[in-house]
């Protein structure tokens, strides 16, 4: 893929970066979503069959970050803060203003944080480059995440789970359960039958 891929319907004069793999059946609303993208991984983002990323989705992916969206995954305006790995499963539905983060991007040690803030102020791009521990985030197949939710580093959300609007998910969520609240807590079980045929 060279020569730059643009989108005929795009309002933003950008391109899809070379190491972003978009299935021919997947949809990207605007290349503004890659405004903060700086991954140098061979495949920084992989969008599967029928996956979509709508307006407001921001792939804030650091140099070593890798993000994957499974088949039919629908991301409707999430901030994906990824310095290592964020996996979004097939059929996942992710609402607006959601934050998925695999790193806090800075050290919890005050002196190291200060050092990074002094460094970043000397750069033109002003992008924080780590110092923070990375712990992958995994959003399972068929998960539904409501608006304004934050998913913190290291969290795995099991298959079929639902996260209520405005929740902050601090620990793993069991498959086929509903969680809600800040911090998020178990609300109830869901039917784990996933076949709809």
């Amino acid at each position: 893929m060279s020569g730059g891929r643009t989108l005929s319907w795009d309002w933003y004069p950008g391109e899809i970066p070379e190491n972003v793999i978009v299935d021919e059946t997947a949809y990207v609303e605007t290349t503004f979503s890659f405004h903060l993208y700086r991954s140098r991984a061979p495949q920084g983002i992989v969008m599967g069959r029928g996956a979509s990323a709508y307006l407001g989705t921001m792939f804030d992916v650091g140099p070593n970050g890798r993000v994957s969206l499974g088949a039919y995954a629908l991301v409707h305006g999430a901030r994906i803060i990824c310095d290592r790995e964020i996996v979004i499963g097939d059929f996942a539905l992710i609402s607006w203003n959601v934050v998925l983060m695999d790193s806090h991007r800075l050290s919890f040690d005050r002196e190291r944080r200060r050092e990074e803030l002094r460094r970043v102020a000397r750069t033109d791009g002003r992008r924080l480059e780590g110092g923070g521990e990375c712990r992958p985030v995994r959003i399972g197949r068929n998960v539904w995440i409501g608006f304004d939710v934050c998913v913190l580093p290291g969290v795995t959300i099991g298959e079929g789970a639902v996260v209520g609007a405005r929740s902050v998910v601090t620990e793993d969520v069991r498959p086929f359960t509903v969680v809600a609240g800040n911090p998020a807590h178990f609300v109830r079980e869901l039917d784990s039958t996933t076949s709809h045929e």
Partner: protein
Amino acid sequence: MSDANHPVSGGRWLDGELPANVSVGDGSILTADYAFKRFRSRAGRALVIGGHCTMDGVHFALGEKGTVRIGDHCYFTNAVLLCERELVIGDYVVIGWNTTIADTDFHPLAPAERIADAVACSPLGKGRPRPGIECRPVVIEDDVWIGPNATILKGVRIGTGAFIEAGALVTRDVPARARVLGNPAVVVGEMP
């Protein structure tokens, strides 16, 4: 934009001319064309930003009497600063994406006063005085780190080195070096 190590000198707003009552220290940059869309302060030195700060997409929504002080080496991403009176932020403060800080509730609590306020704020309320509205300064001390999607409400003082987790809603003072989480935010641990 590149990550080249070019020193930046002289504070500036990349998307326009700074208002006259705003001062920005050396090596600090502000971005976003909307940064001052809601800036109405007539205070002499309404907004003072120190040196070597990054104010990326920050909304400076200051009321007529609002004053905001921000120290050196701060890093804010798409924060919304709503200030009717006073907001004081120290050095090395980090504020994550889509965090809101407000030193006022914007409207009175008492129902009758709120009706008067609704009328005064309406297109028919031209010139009608608004009832008194509670404002209490917000103070954020040095080395505080606030995660994305957090909310800090009026009158709160956040002690030096505290960490506010993503999505937390802070309604009370936070002790120095505490880690807080939740709605309402509670202390869940300590910073190293």
